[in-house]
């Protein structure tokens, strides 16, 4: 018995192997499953899935960075994101007891080579206790800009000083003297691009037409830790490059590769679960309708027609407005509408099978309707069910994406549709942030294609109507 089943499987595989698109689909599916399984290792941000909307989680990555591989195709390179640790530090202790003050002096040299300047430079200081600090950025030509600040509360805290956000006016002040005075006077300090100016030659046009100067730019930090308990936990300078990660980042600094990886799981889950439930329901419904016939069939047909004639999207929109949008409710609602897919075909196949004498023979032996349905009819429809399951996966994924896109998705999970929605919401298309829009879109398309390929291949082999032999 087992051997025969195995044989069937083997013939099926032999036939499947001959359908090339099916093999491609299978390979792609394998890739997707691998991505889901290896997600913790593939994604540099292991909590991307849970903390996608938690902006603090992403704070240390660059904003709007392009994918790393963009540099392979451009002549003028984008700066890569890097973390610089203190190259040299010096500690001086003055006073004693409660008036102890330790002064830490650190230098962070940054070798700026060429190409586009970094998107931002962030000085990150982790401090416990009270302190005051002075940050000094020294350019290769000696021009420098400084910033002073202090921490006043007890306990650990992280100070993040962004050149773009905090030091822009200092950069302006330091470089304005070199700019054409007439121009410098009318230029609003907040309108300049501080990063371009910081790495530009101090000459007229430094704000309008910057010429980048390679060299060592040093960030000097002088930190006074006040009191015996105060201490320095971390100190880093983050150069936020123009490129970051496999797929870049969005304007919320989120790593898009991590997002797409996290979305794979949801796409597979949503697609497979929806199609599994809806096809199972549809097949059983269709079989029952065909098998029982008569008024039961007529009634079931009318119910089927009602469901097929209700438009899905408006219902989903209303549902999402009434309930708190959740992926589970979405799956449920899609199942409620997608089960109609296989019904007609299954019913017609069931009508054929039930004419076979062995169905009558089983009835003559006293088999119950349930036994005939599940022992004789449904097993013959399994191949078709698998094929139609594969074919209905893309529909579910696309529907979820569309809903997410119009803002009715489940905001607590990362789906490809959600990423797309964020992209459109922040005008990514208008701003030319293509790396935010293309990957999730492509992922949806490829996932759809994967199951379509598998489904078509199974359909050609298993669908009795397409069978030529």
């Amino acid at each position: 018995m087992k051997g025969a089943r195995f044989d069937q499987l083997r013939t099926f595989w032999a036939e499947f192997r001959r359908v090339k698109s099916g093999l491609v689909g299978l390979a792609l599916l394998g890739v997707f499953i691998l991505i889901v399984l290896l997600a913790p290792w593939l994604s540099p941000y292991s909590q991307a899935d849970k903390r996608w909307r938690d902006m603090t989680y992403w704070i240390d990555s660059p904003r709007d960075a392009r994918p790393l591989w963009v540099n392979w195709f451009t002549s003028r390179k984008y700066t890569e994101t890097q973390t610089i640790n203190a190259a040299s530090s010096k500690e001086t202790i003055t006073g004693s007891g409660s008036s102890t003050m330790r002064i830490e002096e650190m230098e962070f040299p940054y070798q700026y080579k060429a190409g586009y300047p970094p998107n931002d430079i962030m000085i990150k200081l982790g401090v416990t206790g009270r302190s005051s600090y002075e940050v000094l950025i020294v350019r290769p030509d000696g021009k420098q800009m400084s910033y002073r600040g202090s921490t006043t509360i007890e306990g650990a805290q992280v100070v993040r000083l962004s050149v773009v956000e905090t030091l822009a006016s200092r950069v302006y002040a330091a470089l304005a003297p070199s700019e054409d005075p007439a121009f410098a006077a009318q230029k609003d300090p907040t309108q300049i691009d501080p990063m371009s100016a910081l790495f530009a030659k101090a000459q007229p046009g430094v704000f309008t037409n910057p010429v980048n100067v390679p060299g060592t730019y040093t960030v000097k930090v002088k930190l006074a830790l006040i009191g015996p308990d105060a201490k320095l936990d971390t100190s880093q300078v983050l150069v936020m490059g123009g490129v970051s990660g496999i797929l870049g980042t969005d304007d919320g600094k989120r790593d898009l590769w991590s997002g797409v990886v996290a979305g794979t799981k949801w796409a597979l889950l949503l697609g497979l679960l929806t199609s599994l439930i809806s096809v199972a329901v549809g097949v059983i419904y269709g079989v029952a309708s065909g098998y029982f016939g008569g008024w039961i069939d007529a009634l079931m047909n009318r119910i089927y027609e009602v469901f097929t004639s209700i438009p899905l999207l408006p219902i989903l929109i209303v549902m999402s407005a009434v309930f708190k949008p959740s992926i589970w409710i979405m799956i449920l609602v899609m199942c409620v509408f997608f089960w109609t897919g296989p019904v007609k075909t299954v019913r017609s196949i069931a009508l054929q099978i039930k004419e076979n004498a062995y169905i009558e023979a089983a009835r003559g032996l006293g088999a119950s309707h349930g036994r005939i349905l599940f022992r004789h009819l449904v097993p013959q429809l399994l191949p078709f069910a698998f094929a139609s399951m594969a074919l209905s996966v893309p529909g579910a994924i696309v529907t979820e994406s569309s809903l997410s896109l119009i803002g009715l998705g489940d905001a607590t999970v990362v789906t490809w549709g959600q990423i797309l929605r964020d992209a459109f919401g922040s005008g990514a298309v208008l701003k030319g942030v293509w790396w935010w829009v293309v990957p999730p879109g492509l992922a949806i398309a490829v996932m759809g294609m994967t199951f379509a390929f598998i489904g078509f291949a199974m359909d050609t082999i298993l669908n009795p109507r397409l069978k030529t032999r």
Partner: protein, 356 residues
């Protein structure tokens, strides 16, 4: 003989014809009168044949006995118990007592099942046997019974891996699984090659003797019916028109329709190539929705006289020796037939013109 094991009294099955909206509104209702009042009784251990052309209601009668179809009217008794409208427990009992062998051994077994699955199914349905071991032993015993041995070899095969004859043996085995008393065999050999046909019939007859079975043999083939059955009923348009011991019905048939049927049979005998076959019948079989008034055979009958369509339908009457015929003119026909037999005239002369 012992008392009858199966009695059909005026068994009737009418199928409603699908109506258009107009017909529903007008209240028209048409019926296909597939089985239109059939009565017979079968003794235990008898082989009873039901013969006729397609559409005569012989298969429907078989299915009514199986209770695969709801009986429209009349009564059906098995072993003295009224099973006409039984349900639940009693129906289950009926299912065990009456089994059926289907015409097409190719479609009567689920192609996905192995022979083991096929034979296990009745046991599973009726929860026969304590455990798998006992069931399996029973399956093997039955396979030996129908000469499918060694059983191990056949248990694992699928129906399509068997020859037609083997398949019909397996189908027979399935009917035996529940120790039935009556088996309805619907054309069991018509799709089997001639060389093995006799083998199957032989096996069936052996089983019948060993196990004391009663068969209802439904067929269109008069030759095998003569060979296989004890008694024969000829059906036309849902009614039995002639019934009696097989030899008598075939050799001394009295109903004009039976005569036509017998005249139509081909036999492997030389010297017939240049003779036109004598088939004393005219026209075509009418639709079962529109059964002719009076004797239902009259439009095709060469012996028909006005009484045949003006008066009520003739009943089956016993003319001696259990030979029953439903024809108004059977006495005249018998006289002519006897004369024809004594003068050794060929069948061709036995025509309506000779009587009237």
């Amino acid at each position: 003989m012992s008392e009858p094991i199966l009695v059909a009294e005026n068994l009737t099955k009418w199928f409603p014809v699908k109506r258009s909206v107009g017909q529903v509104l007008r209240g028209n209702r048409t019926w296909v009168r597939a089985v239109d009042g059939v009565s017979f009784s079968i003794e235990k251990g008898e082989i009873f044949g039901l013969v006729g052309e397609s559409g005569c209601g012989k298969t429907t009668t078989g299915k009514l006995i199986m209770k695969l179809l709801e009986i429209t009217d009349g009564r059906l008794y098995v072993s003295g118990e009224d099973v006409t409208h039984v349900r639940g427990r009693a129906l289950e009992k009926h299912r065990r007592a009456v089994q059926m062998i289907f015409q097409d051994p190719y479609s009567s077994m689920n192609p996905r099942f192995t022979i083991r699955d096929v034979l296990m199914e009745p046991l599973e349905i009726h929860k026969v046997g304590k455990d798998m071991k006992e069931r399996e032993a029973w399956v093997r015993e039955i396979l030996n019974e129908v000469k499918l041995s060694p059983p191990e070899e056949f248990l694992v095969r699928h129906p399509h891996m068997l020859s037609g004859g083997q398949r019909q043996r397996a189908a027979t085995a399935r009917t035996l699984m529940l120790n039935p008393s009556v088996i309805v065999a619907d054309e069991p050999v018509s799709m089997i090659d001639l060389s093995t046909r006799a083998e199957i019939l032989h096996m069936m007859r052996q089983l019948q003797r060993e196990l004391g079975l009663t068969y209802i043999y439904v067929t269109h083939d008069l030759s095998t019916a003569r060979y296989f059955t004890d008694r024969l009923a000829v059906m036309y348009l849902g009614k039995i028109i002639e019934m009696g011991p097989s030899g008598t019905v075939i050799d001394r048939c009295l109903h004009p329709y039976t005569q036509a049927l017998i005249g139509a049979v081909c036999e492997p005998v030389s010297g017939k190539v240049n003779q036109v076959k004598d088939v004393p019948i005219k026209g075509e079989i009418p639709a079962a929705t529109n059964i002719p008034p009076g004797c239902r055979f009259h439009p095709r009958c060469l012996y028909a006289i006005p009484e045949c369509w003006e008066e009520v339908e003739p009943k089956l009457v016993d003319i001696g020796g259990g030979h029953m015929v439903a024809c108004r003119r059977h006495e005249e026909i018998e006289r002519v037939g006897a004369a024809a037999r004594t003068s050794e005239a060929s069948l061709g002369i036995r025509r309506a013109t000779r009587i009237s």
